[in-house]
Symmetry: C2
DNA sequence: TTGTACGCGTTATCAA
DNA sequence: TTGATAACGCGTACAA
């Protein structure tokens, strides 16, 4: 591996000049510049940006911590982050927390040791020491898929309460009275918790009573959605509609319901959350609350670089959500043998 | 930011001792060690692994280049890579090539400048200079989702020819005679090309004639699959079964076929490739060729570290593929009004 | 068991 | 416009 010193010697100039050719070519006379360029060619010189980072105290690398790259929504937001990072000539190190706080804690530590310039994190625990320390030390970071609209954190997210409300309202408008919810574990993320509050809020506003038995918490997995919907459907008085706290869970729920012999959406309406790319490819095409994942990732990166380049007050950006009605929801049938049909199929 | 020098001063020892406490705690007397540990605490010392990498010439970082993190199969393999990298205390920088060679070329350059210790790459172009240079310079790298079984590259992959053969054979066994294929653009990856050869090979071995019009190439997208299947179904003599070169495309195809009014699988059998997690959640559940994506990622990382730690001959590992039969394929109906049904729905 | 001193590849400061 | 050189934070011979 040749260094700028080798190049300098070969070109008969100083290392400073070589460095200038690399970083501000205009500032060196064309003649000298060409000599250097040729020398670089000759020793097949490769730039060492780690050494640079060492002196400039900028690694041109950021960290991105998400719960699970397996969830297409996080894949999309990741692409948004990457796209903007690319523009800024910055690498992104990816880590999965798997919804575990300890993992998140460790990742932050490791990433900071790697001297990342900033961090984008979809956190599992808003109140833990991880974020607190980051704030105390004025380390640049942005919450992604955030639920907070104020306070000491920079954040990009949506109004999850509103999303939950929208989803439930849609079902209420279709005439449903018994509306269940399959939620991601509240201990894993507060997004699910806020969506549940939106769900409850709408129920209240609509004069429907909230029933505890109609809530099932699960991990964020396909099989979790599948198992949870079955639980709900086996209730003595099962719901006619279910709000799932993300599309991934909803996909599992769709299958679970089918497995129990239900015809969708006639026997059961399902609403998801996220509007991941495959939502319109599901059967029935999923009615869901849209979340601009890619755009949110891009925006989070924008905010982060703003923070890095000129530290200051925390920046928050809450983006728009809206309901996308597709085929997985329908009006409740008036003369329904719904109940008996379910029991028959057990 | 405090450094080991600050810690050393505070503890009244030398920097070497602090370094020892960090890297080989056993080698320093308990008494001194504790003094150092306390000092570290007091200045809230943070380890700088960039500085370490600078002297050890190891960044403890590897690069991972995939076509597109949006495709769940690549998300899974990425998790496999991360899991092993974690064990090796190594960070992974992720980059998407978007199936573009120029992007791939640039990513490799940028990553190498970042002094990554090694690279895992799902390449778009086996014959380009990118890989050639890597080999020439003896830089540790592993091809992932590779089609090569020999030569100068370390690689982890499966037999794509066999996979294509298996998929087609299944359709032949079900009695299908007109079998189409929706393939990812051959210019984007040779995986698709090999699968197509498997398809052709099986057709030949089964005494069926290969018809050029039954092959459609597309980009790797849901909408690509959707549009392509429609092209095939609009043929004067449409296929009764179609092999899609991945599940993502197959998901699009499923929708395209439904949109044209077909009943699946009765009117059309579809086989995918990959067996991504949601394959069994599709409607109908997708028959597909299984590829152990997570395991392949893990294995690629294993191979890479072996290469890094003790350079030597290239290592290849071809993993097992097999067909998973689900519900999207069925025997061709003997008395079928298939043709007319399609035309009716146009 | 601990300390001294050098080197890693680059940028930045200052002087020429 | 160019050059000389200190500095960045750490690991590691080598010495004590």
């Amino acid at each position: 591996m040749s260094t700028i010193l080798d190049v300098a010697r070969l070109a008969g100039v100083s290392t400073a000049t070589v460095s200038r050719v690399i970083n501000m070519p205009e500032s060196v006379r064309e003649n000298t510049r060409n000599k250097v360029l040729q020398a670089m060619e000759k020793c097949s010189y490769k730039y060492n940006s780690l050494a640079r980072g060492f002196v400039t105290k900028r690694s041109n690398t950021i960290g991105l911590i998400i719960p699970n790259i397996n969830n297409p929504v996080f894949a999309e937001s990741t692409m948004g982050v990457q796209e903007h990072a690319d523009k800024k000539n910055t690498r992104v190190i990816l880590g999965n927390s798997y919804y575990k706080y300890s993992q998140e804690e460790n990742l932050v530590k490791v990433l900071r040791e790697s001297q990342i310039d900033g961090l984008i994190i979809t956190t599992t625990n808003l109140k833990g020491n991880v974020l607190k320390n980051l704030v105390d030390e004025k380390f640049p970071f942005v919450l992604l898929f955030s639920t907070v609209k104020g306070g000491p954190f920079s954040a990009v997210g949506i109004d999850n309460y509103k999303g939950g409300y929208l989803a439930t309202e849609h079902l209420v408008n279709l005439g449903h009275k018994r509306i269940g919810m399959v939620a991601g574990n509240f201990s894993m993320t507060d997004r699910s918790y806020h969506r549940w509050h939106g769900y409850k809020g709408c129920l209240r506003d609509s004069g429907l009573t909230y029933s505890k038995e109609l809530l099932v918490q699960t991990d964020y997995s396909l099989s979790g959605g599948e198992a949870s919907i079955k639980k709900l459907l086996c209730l003595p008085s099962p719901p006619t509609a279910v709000f799932c706290s993300n599309d991934y869970i909803a996909l599992g729920a769709l299958k679970g319901a089918r497995d129990m012999g239900l015809t969708l959406p006639a026997d059961l309406s399902i609403v998801g959350f996220d509007d991941m790319q495959t939502a319109s490819y599901m059967v029935p095409a999923l009615t869901t609350v849209h979340q601009p994942a890619y755009e949110m990732g891009r925006r989070a990166a924008e905010v982060l670089f703003q923070l890095i380049e000129s530290p200051g007050k925390p920046l928050q950006d809450m983006m728009e959500t809206n309901l996308i009605v597709r085929e997985s929801t329908t009006a409740i049938p008036h003369t329904s043998s719904h109940q008996s049909r379910i029991n028959k199929n057990q």
